[in-house]
Structure formats: C-alpha cells, structure tokens
C-alpha cells in the first residue's frame, strides 16, 4: 500500500516538475538562427574568427613573392609578373579561381606579409564559373609590389635567420628519425 501511494506521489511530483521545465523552455528565446532572412547580426559577424571562407589579397602589402602561387596544390592562384622600363618589376594580374579553391589554407601560411588571408564571408555564389574568378588587379592595371622598409627588413631578416635555424633543425631531425 505504501508503494502504491509512493508511485502516485512520484508520478504527480515528477510530472509537475516536468511541466515547469517545459514551460521554462517555452518562454526562452529559440536557439534557431533563421539564416538568410533574419539574423541577429550580419552573417559575416556570426562566423567564427578563423573561419575559412573566401580569400582576399591586400594588394598594397603584397610583395609578389609568388609563395602562395607555388604553395597552392591545385593551381587556383595565377599571378602575372612583368618587367617594365618605367616602374620595374610589377604585377599585372592576380587572379584566384574560387570555384576551384578547396579552402585548404596552404596559401595563407607562407605569405610573408599576411596579404593573402581568409575573410569570414561566404555568400558569393554565382551563375557561371567565370564569375567565380576574382581579379584583384583590374584589366590593364599594374601594381608595384610592396617593399618592406629597409630598417625593419634588416631587423626582420635577423629574426628570420634566427627563427629559421631552429625551425629547420627539428624538421630535419624528425625526417631523419622517420
């Protein structure tokens, strides 16, 4: 008999508590984000800080070292470098075919100035593959590569040298051990 009453009591109290929990959920803000039409902030702000979305190149800091082009495993980046008697070595084209890009991020790593980097923007679907190619230098434009200031370069060069040496060391040792 006591078990019987205990069952009734447990049922009543647990359902009561359950009701309180469900009602408390009902008066909360839903966690759903209504992506295309209603977002609390602009979509690019909602993306994580280091999200890999679209590539952008800051042309005023690009040194035309072609590191990104060579590091790209699927040849997405095409940089045209030419020499001109007036302005010397310059870039006449910097194209990234985003339709081909696989967002591996290998191009952003060797960039000495951080000119090529990901931006948290991804809503750039297009109707043709040609539209997906981004031209960072307009047709006929000429961009002189960025030259880091001498003093800084010297200091940086020293740093690079000191950094490179220990870096190469472990790499070689791991290769050797492997």
């Amino acid at each position: 008999m006591s078990g019987y009453l205990q069952n009734i009591k447990e049922a009543a109290t647990s359902i009561f508590e359950g009701f309180a929990i469900t009602l408390s959920h009902m008066v909360r803000r839903p966690v759903t984000i209504q992506y295309p039409d209603k977002t609390p902030r602009p979509v690019s702000d909602l993306m994580p800080e280091r999200s890999r979305s679209w590539l952008r190149v800051e042309m005023d800091t690009c040194t035309a070292c072609l590191m990104c082009e060579t590091s790209c495993p699927i040849d997405v980046i095409k940089i045209t470098v030419a020499k001109d008697p007036d302005i010397g070595r310059h870039m006449s084209g910097f194209d990234i075919d985003m339709a081909k890009c696989m967002y591996c991020g290998l191009c952003t790593e060797p960039c000495p100035t951080g000119a090529i980097h990901f931006i948290p923007e991804f809503e750039r679907a297009a109707y043709s593959l040609e539209e997906m190619v981004e031209h960072f230098i307009p047709e006929g434009g000429k961009v002189v590569p960025f030259k880091p200031p001498k003093k800084e370069k010297a200091a940086k060069g020293g740093d690079d040298a000191s950094e490179e040496a220990p870096e190469e060391g472990p790499e070689e040792s791991t290769e050797a051990s492997a």
Binding site: N7, F16, G18, A20, T22, P30, V31, T32, Q34
Partner: protein, 400 residues
C-alpha cells in the same frame, strides 16, 4: 428566423409543411455554424500545437506561410487534397474507405451537445454528458475499422491497441464524471453549468476533495481516450510506423488528424463544463454587458468558455512534450490499478459527502481554491527557478 423560413417556404418549397422547412433551415444553420467553427479551429490548433512544440524544444516552428505561419494548415490541407488517394491492394475496401468518416463523425457529433454559452448550444440534451461520452467513443469503431481494413500488421496492431485503450479508459472517465453528475443531479450539460458559479470556489472541482481528485482522473482518462501523448500508443510512430493510419493518404489521412485535434477541443470543453463552471460569468459582468446589447452576454460567456477550454488544450499539448510515451502494460496498469479504484473511491466519497454535508462546505471550498492557487504560484516559481538555474533569459515574445 421566421422571415427566412417563410421566404424559403413560399419561394422554393411551397408544397412542404412549414414546420419541416423550419426544421431544415435550423438544421442547416446549426450545421454551418459548427462546421465553420470546427474546421478552422482544428486547423489553427494544428498550427498552435506545432508552434508550442517548437518553442518547448527551443525551436521556432512553422513561420513561412502567411503572417507568422498562420496559414500553414491551409497549405497542408490543400497539399493533402491534391495528393493521390491510395488504397492498398490487400485492403478491405469498404471498411478502409468508411473508417475515416466514422472517426470524424464520432468527434464532430459531440459538438452538438457542447454548451458554448447559456443560449449558444445546438441541442441541450437531457442526457448531454452521456451523449458526449457515447459519441466520442464511437471513434473507436472507426479506428478499429481503419486498423482492420488497411490489411497491414502495423495498422492492425494500432487498431487493436486503440480498442483496448479507449474501452478501458471509458470506465475511469465515466466514474470521474459521475461525481459531478451526483452533485448536479442532472446529465444535462447546461444544468451542470447552471449549478456552478462564476467564481472558482463555486466550481465543482473545488466542491470537495474527491471532486478535485476525479478532476485529474477525468483529465488523464480523456487524454488517453483521445489517443494523445503520452497515451498515443495506437499511433506510436517509433513502434507502429503510424498505427491505424499508416496506409492512409491524402484527405482520408487528414480526417484522422482533424478528428484528433477536434477531440483535443472536446476534451477541454468537457473538462470546462464539468469542473470549471463552463460559461459562467460574474453577475456584474452579465448585467453590464446585457445593458449594452442583449446578445453581448452570450459573447462574453463564449469567450470565458473558450479561454477555459484553451487552458486545457494547452496543458494537453504541453503534456505531450513533457512526458515520454508509456508502455502498453503501464497504460493498462495505470487504468485498472490506479484510476479505476481511485475513481470508485471518489464516487463513494462524494456520495458520502453529500449525505453528511447536504449543502457542501464553504470552508472546504475556499481551502481547496486557496490550495490550487498556491500550487499555481509554486508552479510559476519553479518555472522561474528553472530559468535562473540554467541562466537563460525570459523571452515571452511568441512572434519570431
């Protein structure tokens, strides 16, 4: 009304007797009113249920069709109408076709006896409550028919479960209603309401402790009878695909759901009528509204009735997302081991109460009302507590 009858009689049905024309006109008007009420109501209720379910699960729910997704049920209805009406090869064709209409009929005919206001009732039957219980359990015939007629084992199991469940739960439901019938001394829905008052302590739920218990018994039994979760075993989707309506498609499928949501309303209406004073409004409000227009009190009563009914509708919807589905043996144990004995105890208790205290006890009424009020306050305290513990903000805004 009489003008309309004479107009129709003189112009269209001259040969027919006047009383017959009058009866037909009344019948058609009542039918239209009910149909126009029930059909959109079941639709809006389907929207409401989906929205409440979504908010309980921290989702948003339907919000695409029409303002705030209010027209979702119309879109669903049109989609279902345009769907192919499939009949399985092995189905028992006449039964398969007939079943949804029987289910629908069982639900729909109960609306005839529901008292929406003191004069707003299609038929104030002197066996009102008996009629409502009888017709609402007519649906079980349709459910078993659908289960058998589909020629599928899932449907068959669903139909059998529904038969077992509905018939079992008729007993505690009837017994729980009996306590009120004892107090009112009448089966008529209108008389039962007229015997109660407008204020909570004049309601039958607080008449004596036994009535309060039988209130909960009736609520559980009607939930089970309407195949609502946590007692939705006949259509348990994780076990039986969809139970008795597995093989149905198109409009026939909609009829089942239509009946389910209409049943939700009937549940609320029965509970309101029997225990919460139905359409009763305070005397002062009645006089004030009657002073403005003679029909206004009826509207105020209708609003009171609907609000009380919607509370139950909401509670039952919330229950669905609070409690997991019970097992079939638990379902039967709940009915036969708990509800039936307690309901008998309540009937005897109420009868004894009426003998010992023929006029009832004011003190007990006030005490029970205060207790209920305290429970509700504690309930809201627990809701706030839950919000505080989970460090979430209160956001009541239903528009998203």
């Amino acid at each position: 009304m009489e003008n309309l009858v004479t107009y129709i009689h003189d112009n269209y049905l001259y040969g027919a007797p006047v009383w017959l024309v009058g009866a037909i006109v009344q019948f058609v008007i009542a039918l239209l009113l009910l149909m126009l009420f029930v059909a959109p109501f079941a639709g809006i209720l389907s929207f409401l249920e989906r929205r409440i379910a979504a908010r309980i699960q921290d989702r948003i729910g339907p919000n695409r069709v029409g303002p705030q997704g209010l027209l979702q049920f119309l879109a669903d209805g049109i989609k279902s109408l345009l769907k192919e009406d499939l009949i399985p090869r092995d189905a028992d064709k006449p039964l398969f076709i007939l079943a949804p209409y029987l289910v629908f009929l069982g639900m729909f005919t109960t609306f005839v006896a529901l008292p929406f206001a003191s004069k707003l009732v299609v038929a104030d039957l002197n066996v009102g409550i008996l009629y409502v219980f009888a017709t609402s359990s007519l649906t079980v015939v349709g459910l078993v028919m659908a289960g058998w007629g589909s020629g599928s084992k899932w449907s068959m199991l669903g139909g059998m479960r529904s038969a077992a469940q509905v018939i079992s739960y008729e007993i505690p439901a009837g017994l729980a209603a009996l306590t009120v019938i004892l107090l009112a001394g009448s089966l008529s829905m209108q008389t039962i309401i007229a015997n109660q008052g407008a204020h909570p302590w004049q309601w039958y739920i607080f008449d004596n402790p036994f009535c309060t218990i039988s209130f909960f018994i009736l609520l559980i039994s009607l939930t089970a009878e309407g195949n609502r979760a946590p007692f939705d075993l006949p259509e348990a989707e994780s076990e039986l695909v969809s139970g008795y309506n597995t093989e149905y498609s198109g409009m026939r499928f909609v009829f089942f759901f239509f009946a389910e949501w209409a049943n939700l309303y009937v549940l609320g209406a029965i509970m309101t009528t029997l225990f919460l004073g139905g359409w009763q409004i305070p005397e002062s409000l009645y006089k004030a509204s009657a002073g403005m227009a003679s029909w206004l009190p009826q509207i105020v009563q209708l609003v009171f009735f609907q609000v009380k009914t919607m509370v139950f509708v909401f509670l039952v919807i919330q229950l669905r997302w609070t409690v997991p589905r019970v097992r079939i043996d638990q379902l039967m144990a709940l009915c036969w081991k708990y509800l039936v004995p307690i309901a008998f105890f309540c009937v005897i208790g109420t009868a004894a109460w009426m003998i010992i205290l023929p006029d009832g006890s004011e003190t007990v009424r006030y005490l029970l009302t205060a207790l209920a009020g305290l429970t509700i306050v504690y309930y809201f305290y627990r809701v706030v507590y839950q919000l505080r513990v989970t460090r979430s903000e209160l956001d009541f805004n239903p528009l998203v």
